[in-house]
């Protein structure tokens, strides 16, 4: 019996958007996929090897650290761009290199370039290249991708709203707000207090892009473009959200500018906006206090 190749898939960064597709794809190609577990304190400790990077990058690094000895390959594609004229963030682009420079004896990294800035060809090249690494031809690889893509669905893509409940727009990168360790489980906390939570994933691309048109210049980071668009859509709709929480990680580059844009807009529309910044030192008690102060304010505001 031939043992399947074991490929490690870190649970961090773009995993929250594309992880399931990647996992399906690698399985279709006959590999055994090992996904790192949930983020823990230990993950953060390992990730602190890196200097001055944001928390999600440290988390990603921590996941790799926990995985790399257990697998034959590490799947960490270099995702440069996922849409025309846009980029991901520089740290995501440089991630495979930061891994290589900071972990000795790393297993071979599958770090194919995905760059859809100018056209889609690079995606197909990447698919074929991954297939070839695993000893598969071009056609089976593309077919595997097709099947993986067909079965994608992971983050919630629609929301139902109860008219009686207040609605909060929770704006942040999916790798922050859906990582329970980083986000301190904010989504459930807000729901427990009695709020409906709307995240950027629940706003369609079309809506977000339309709303982002009010900005003078198109945002060139994909995630930020969608986040800003979603925030604007939630604020400018006929039934705007009651409040907005912008959740970011300390030293996130794009967010420093996007947060400001969103805050400017929220102020002019008179929608309360809370900026929550987290890093590995954020304590849960202080975090909850701020959250409660904000939600209490929203409740009082509605009553008066």
């Amino acid at each position: 019996m031939v043992l399947a190749v074991r490929i490690g898939l870190p649970r961090g960064l773009l995993y929250y958007q594309y992880g399931l597709v990647w996992e399906n794809f690698l399985r279709e190609l006959g590999a055994e996929v090992v996904v790192a577990g949930d983020t823990t304190k230990a993950t953060l400790d390992h990730g602190s090897v890196l200097d001055e990077v944001c928390l999600p990058v440290k988390v990603y690094f921590g996941h790799v650290y926990e995985l790399y000895k257990k697998v034959d390959y590490l799947f960490s594609p270099r995702v440069i761009s996922v849409a025309a004229g846009q980029y991901t963030c520089p740290k995501i682009i440089g991630m495979p290199d930061m891994l290589r420079s900071n972990i000795d004896n790393l297993p071979p990294v599958i770090n194919v370039n995905v760059n859809l800035r100018q056209n889609n060809r690079s995606l197909y090249e990447a698919i074929v290249s991954v297939g070839r690494t695993l000893g598969r031809g071009a056609i089976p690889s593309l077919y595997a991708w097709y099947r993986a893509w067909k079965h994608r669905h992971q983050l919630p893509t629609a929301y139902q709203s109860d008219i009686k409940r207040q609605r909060i727009g929770l704006i942040g990168h999916s790798y922050i707000i859906y990582d329970r360790q980083i986000s301190m489980n904010i989504i459930n906390k807000l729901r427990d207090i009695g709020f409906d939570v709307i995240t950027p994933e629940m706003v369609s691309n079309r809506q977000a892009t339309a709303a982002a048109k009010v900005l003078g210049k198109k945002i060139f980071w994909s995630n930020s473009h969608h986040m800003a668009g979603a925030a604007l859509a939630l604020m400018q709709s006929a039934q705007p959200v009651n409040g907005l929480i912008f959740m970011t990680s300390f030293s996130c580059g794009p967010d420093a500018l996007i947060g400001e844009l969103i805050n400017q807009r929220a102020q002019s529309l008179n929608i309360p906006c809370l900026l929550l910044t987290v890093d590995e030192h954020t304590a849960e008690a202080g975090f909850i206090t701020r959250l409660e102060a904000f939600t209490d304010m929203l409740v009082r505001r509605k009553r008066s």
Partner: protein
């Protein structure tokens, strides 16, 4: 239309020449000071990088002095610089300023349109000669500055070359024709060669400076790094000058494209793709200068700068492989002189020790 623009080292001389010869009135923002920094920090988002804050301070001070048009640059990412102008515009409008913002995007159509906006009545020939003068000033300043950096560690009288540099800047600033500029240029270089008395038999440490261009070129921001090192007896080679940037990124001159290709190859084993800003060059020049037996590298960047943070996390490996010490300095509004000087002194001690023991 009264034009102003942000400061970055000697850039103001170049841009002032350009806009004045295009027939526009220019108000320079006051030289960057504590006040500029305070204004910028006060109205900027907290977590944004230092150049954003200081250029915002420049804009506020210039608008207060009567400028009504700001010329600044755009960009297409992924470095944050490309989105500065959009956010800064919103902040300034929120503060109640009335002004026009001309954002120069890196594409030819946009540049032509904007030049037309600034100088609607000028013929192509006049525009060409305005650009020619401005660019000649840029080349002159860069060339003289390179010379100053070689002379400074060797001069007997401390400050002799700096005095000449100051005079040269003034003369270049006032030169309004190409011949006048050439005279000022050659005069300055000649004086640097002839008039500054040099110590005999010194072999200064050679340090390459890599990193982000704004921090590298603006002495207020880098706490006068280049002059300080020179006066500590170090020959400094700054890897990014204005002319490199303009010739490489705007004119895409073939020699610079060749150079960039070469640098990309040098960086490839460590950083396989462009990450915005100058991150790739920081890696590449460290490899390059390590191979050329430089004594050390100093890597400067604004705190939280995304491309350079990627570089910073890779540089220890590069440093180890090519056997060249690297000191990384991240600057923000809290950077203090004493801290930086201490680190520089320690670094120089290390480099001298390495030299004396010949461990490389």
């Amino acid at each position: 239309m009264i034009i102003s623009f942000p400061h970055m080292g000697a850039l103001s001389i170049v841009l002032q020449a350009l806009f004045t010869s295009l027939g526009r009135k220019v108000i320079l923002p006051p030289a960057i000071s504590k006040r500029t920094l305070e204004l910028g920090v006060k109205y900027s988002p907290e977590a944004v990088c230092l150049p954003f804050k200081i250029t915002l301070g420049n804009f506020i001070e210039a608008l207060d002095q009567g400028a009504n048009t700001i010329v600044t640059c755009g960009g297409v990412g992924p470095c944050r610089l490309g989105y500065y102008a959009e956010v800064q515009k919103g902040i300034l409008q929120g503060l109640g300023y009335e002004f026009e913002m001309i954002i120069i995007e890196p594409n030819l159509v946009n540049i032509i349109n904007n030049v037309h906006r600034i100088a609607p009545k000028h013929s192509l020939r006049e525009i060409y000669s305005a650009f020619r003068l401005a660019l000649a000033k840029m080349n002159a300043l860069d060339s003289i500055q390179r010379k100053v950096q070689t002379v400074r560690p060797r001069e007997i009288t401390r400050g002799a070359s700096d005095a000449l540099w100051k005079t040269a800047m003034d003369e270049i600033n006032t030169a309004d024709t190409i011949p006048a500029l050439r005279t000022a240029w050659y005069d300055a270089e000649h004086k640097l060669d002839q008039e500054v008395k040099l110590k005999a038999g010194v072999n200064p440490l050679r340090i390459g400076v890599v990193g982000e261009i704004y921090v590298m070129l603006e002495p207020f921001v880098n706490l006068d790094l280049v002059r300080r090192l020179g006066q500590m007896g170090v020959e400094v080679h700054t890897t990014m000058q204005l002319s490199n940037y303009v010739n490489g990124h705007l004119f895409r001159k073939s020699e610079y494209l060749e150079l960039f290709k070469h640098l990309t190859n040098l960086a490839r084993p460590y950083l396989g793709h462009y990450v915005g800003g100058h991150g790739l060059k920081s890696i590449a020049y460290t490899v390059h200068m390590g191979q050329q037996n430089y004594d050390g590298m100093i890597h400067v960047f604004p705190f939280t700068c995304m491309p350079e943070v990627v570089a910073k996390n890779i540089l220890p490996k590069v440093s180890n492989d090519v056997n060249i010490p690297v000191l990384s300095l991240a600057y923000d509004e809290q950077s203090g002189e004493a801290g930086v000087v201490t680190r520089l002194e320690a670094f120089i001690d290390l480099l001298e020790y390495r030299r004396s023991t010949n461990t490389y």
